[in-house]
């Protein structure tokens, strides 16, 4: 698997290149994007991003579980979990060697940009 890891800085850099905004503002827009998605999920709403996938909040009822180490029975409290359903498009792209090639060349061009900070 990939040894490199993409972070907020990479996303900010992508935004920075896209529109003529300052680096600071680009970073702020990435935060706003994530925060908007999160606040809808907190409401229990599904967030669908076309061609990418959807985030669905599922409600789990209380159930009796077992501590795997001690074998002790414990009640697992009701909780909400987040599930990501990748779109068919994303599933296909991840499996396509061609898209991997294109992605690689995209990335090579990106390397010329300075690393994003703050």
């Amino acid at each position: 698997m990939g040894e490199k890891s993409v972070t907020r800085a990479s996303l900010s850099h992508a935004v920075y290149k896209e529109v003529g905004l300052s680096r600071k503002e680009s970073a702020s827009l990435v935060e706003q994007f994530l925060e908007k998605v999160i606040s809808r999920l907190e409401e229990g709403e599904t967030v669908k991003l076309s061609l990418f996938g959807s985030f669905v909040v599922r409600k789990k009822r209380a159930r009796v579980g077992r501590n795997p180490k001690t074998g002790e029975e414990v009640t697992i409290t009701p909780r909400r979990v987040l599930v990501f359903k990748p779109s068919n498009m994303l599933r296909k792209r991840v499996n396509s060697v061609i898209s991997r090639g294109i992605a690689a060349s995209d990335r090579d061009r990106d390397e010329s940009g300075s690393p994003f900070e703050g």
């Binding site: 907020r8 990479s10 992508a14 896209e18 967030v47 990501f84």
Partner: protein, 93 residues
């Protein structure tokens, strides 16, 4: 919520930007994550979660209707694991 609603909400907070620009920004973010996943890279977003790609090894499957053996090729599955902070936020109340 769908992408267009997300764009509109971000627009409200940034009256100095064109809706068109916000659309491009949202697409750029999504595209950056997609491109990373296509290269089998992880995308770590603190406070949100981690996107990664899992490998499913090739196996011999069966057609459930006919029972015929079929070769299933190795494939990759996009995967998301929710971050601790977001998980806590979802369970606040």
């Amino acid at each position: 919520m769908v992408k267009s609603e997300l764009v509109r909400e971000i627009c409200k907070e940034n009256p100095h930007l064109y809706e068109r620009d916000i659309e491009n920004i949202v697409s750029a973010i999504i595209n950056e994550i997609t491109v990373a996943l296509c290269q089998l890279e992880r995308v770590e977003l603190r406070g949100f979660g981690v996107f990664s790609v899992k490998e499913r090894t090739a196996r011999t499957g069966r057609n459930p209707r006919t029972g015929d053996a079929v070769e299933v090729e190795k494939k990759y599955i996009p995967f998301f694991r929710v971050g601790k902070e977001l998980s806590q936020r979802l369970n606040k109340n």
